[in-house]
Symmetry: D2
Subunit: 296 residues, 4 copies
């Protein structure tokens, strides 16, 4: 599994009535495969993972694996609140051919989500998962924080190979880089601060923005790593408005609308999410145009 | 369905290896049936709902309904992030004989959980649920807030009959009481402020503490409603330490440990939760003793 | 000093150019003296205390004391970040005839505002103040929380006689009542939850709303204490919109505008505050009308 | 005024009884003057500004200006909640010879601290200040946030020349850099993320850590600007523990204790702050030793 560079979390297509739409997924995947991305993540936050049942989740993985060549890393999100369900999900995903699983912290019982609880959970999942495990910390959505020292202890498990850290606290990211061993992959999850995260030493990123603008995200990664400060800073700045629109402002519905504007049809979000409003689509269109003019 | 007075959310028993333990449930239920509680809630937060799969959830409901007489209200928690899954869960629960379903707000896509999203979700669930629906707002756990004006709009749906509000913001509770029609049940979810909530006009409460101290919780409700201010205030004060220990301090593992100390065996919590520590058990024991001496 | 019942924090009048306007204060005070309020607080949050210098503060106290008879309690806010400045301010206020001083927690050095820091500060101030000291906890504005156990320890100081708790967490208020000795006055600071606070056992309140609607606030206190549940609940409900408009929504500028609409001219707020907008004034006018119709 | 590179906020010395100790200041200043720092800030957060009265503040400025040569930038913090007091403080500071004033956002009336309020405040101060004004945003301490677009509007005022942004949100810092004109100085206030902030384009920093480790902070700035990625990242990493100890962990008392360990005697903090505990001093000593061994 190649855990460096830029990976994209892929949205899950639904049709207008909310049915899983594998046909749309089969059409969209080859479009993403033309990009220089290192790999893809199915069933993450942007894949509306929490809105699919287990059987649908399996279909998504099976379909994607049949199209994504083994030369590209394919990861599936398999987070569950229950440790045993998380193990079961990892096993299913592994049996369907993913290279690794991305396991978000459980979070519902916030007061009980101590370092010990995270260690119990991840150790049990990693002990049982047939494929390597990535930790996943997304405090803004979960309300809990997997601290760098806990991640560092978990990094000593032979089947825990990396972490996606979606926060934009650069000193927490720097701590992760410093406290974990060289082979362990720290991947940034926030496109708004990707440039600073790369500078702080991450191996790469899993960025929603990379599903929309794969070339630009990869270029940002390369420019930053190669010391082209001024160009990197400018590109980061140009990406910022779109990064915000598809995360903070409009979320997954915004990402789906922006992809449609860019020629990739991933259908509609599932209830309780609703398609992006007309004004959201207009804002996305303008931001895409502005970016394309600058980037061309 | 009788939606007034004090209801208890019931913990779900697991054995030491984490298997669902229906035998323990069958033993415990008759103990709770000896209490003056108005009814019971299965598969809520304290039922570790998020840690069971669909098939286990059905077994819990089926078992409980076979024991709880129809003279007592039996409600099942059927929250899901996805509207279609929430509908499916409500249908299953209804088919197994519950009197109503308690549907916590979806919450993972926080930025998208607008009033409109809540209205879409609850309207669709209530349209399809064969049994009445209760809203459920638990901001401390979910990070989202179902505002009283939104709840009031939903209260006009003929199949939405009440709300469990777990927050302790008394002005929000007072708003709920004032903005919803007389037949709509506003139920408090926080035992720490139950006395003030009753005074603000709620119909009753769904209180974890009521699984542990049903008589005292019912007495607190009665004293407050009947204007015995000094006695009510004293009893609320006496209940406060235990209310906190089984919520903020030790959560579900604390409730399970306290029940065991009180002679009701609901087994162990499921991973990633762990049994209450020895020091937690000692603190619970002392608080129980202190309360019993005062209450006797 | 009579520390029970309802006290009003008084706004400080400024003229349109921002000068302290003692003439307006001299005209307004007799209007408040016609009310059944137990007393008044100068230079609190609603007195824009932080916007006056020491010399202006002294003028406000001197002017008010010359008009408020000794049969009414007159308290001055004398909070300062520095302990020595807080002592100096208490001494000046005492020399000008106030019955007590209200001392908000220091808060700027948030990380250092430990229980020990609060104990150091308040003990030093109370040791040196010629008049009794009231603690003042206002977490929403300060970002720090003076916990009930710390307040209870401070309550043993012979010169610390009460606390104004502006939060609306009823269990924190109940703790204060329970942990402090009978002679110690716990005063609520939030009109939105005053009814629940009185029911939880507070001695009274220091309520911005009482500067605007003194009769209604006193009646709410009396109804609640005398067990008229239904009437008290209704009145609390009727007061809620105005309570929110002059706190959360429009703050001090809102209170000043509402007072002007009610015939008490306390001039303008001081920069950086600005007078309430036209739409704010319209909302206040409507809420006042609605209330007056219901209350008459 | 030279607003680039690294400036240090200077602690204000007090003696053991809490008296302002100008003798200690006179001794300490020449020690800092041996460093390569661009300038100094008096009466900021680390100068315990909120704990001094106006007359003491003037003495601090006067003393420092008599020792700091005009070749070094000397700035004074002159924040006040009241606009008119902030103007008065800026005038006094200017008359005593400072090159500029640093004006933290007012913050007590949080709900009213709208963009318009900030614009009113800063425009009035800048209109009247005889010396250039720097904005100062410190959300962690104030609970309010001066957004980049508001700062950008204020940057068009000819007498507003820069901003100290103490937050560590790199995308907010990047916005400031992008939205303000080239001559406007964006200065970072957080040493923990200084490296990322410089990479995002700030002109420099005002860092408490620079009072303690001026050479290392200047070297970090230079390494980052000159593209020495690996060395810069390593040095940032080495500085992180001390940066945290003197901010989050122990605050101003920690900085004063660390300076004493390093041979600069700035006396004691003022009440309600207390000197760093023995365990804090031990932690600081160890961190200083670890750093010095690595940096030497």
């Amino acid at each position: 599994m190649h855990l460096a560079g830029v990976l994209a979390p892929l949205p899950t297509p639904f049709d207008q009535s909310g049915e899983l739409d594998l046909a749309r997924l089969r059409t969209a995947l080859p479009q993403w495969l033309q990009s220089p991305l290192s790999g893809f993540v199915l069933l993450g936050t942007n894949g509306e993972a929490g809105l699919l049942n287990d059987s649908e989740s399996a279909s998504v993985i099976e379909t994607a694996r049949s199209i994504v060549p083994t030369s590209r890393t394919l990861i599936a999100g398999t987070a569950r609140e229950s440790t045993r369900e998380a193990i079961a999900a990892a096993r299913v995903a592994a049996s369907l051919g993913v290279d690794g699983v991305l396991v978000r912290t459980p979070c519902f019982f916030k007061g009980q989500m101590t370092p010990e609880a995270f260690e119990r959970h991840y150790t049990a999942v990693a002990d049982s998962s047939p494929v390597p495990v990535l930790l996943y910390n997304f405090t803004a959505a979960t309300g809990v924080n997997l601290q760098p020292d806990v991640a560092a202890r978990l990094a000593s498990h032979p089947n825990i190979v990396g972490i996606k850290e979606s926060g934009s606290d650069i000193s927490q990211i720097a701590d992760l880089v410093a406290l974990t061993p060289p082979g362990f992959a720290t991947l940034a999850g926030s496109a708004s601060t990707f440039h600073a995260a790369v500078y702080a030493g991450v191996s790469g990123g899993i960025l929603a923005l990379a599903a929309l603008l794969p070339d630009a995200c990869v270029r940002l990664f390369d420019l930053t790593r190669n010391g082209h400060q001024a160009d990197a800073r400018l590109l980061q700045r140009q990406l910022l408005p779109l990064a915000r629109l598809i995360s903070t402002s409009y979320g997954v519905p915004g990402l789906k609308a922006a992809l449609r504007l860019s020629g990739i049809d991933v259908g509609f979000p599932r209830l309780p999410l609703a398609p992006a409003s007309e004004s959201a689509v207009a804002a996305l269109k303008q931001a895409l145009n502005t970016f394309e003019e600058a980037f061309a």
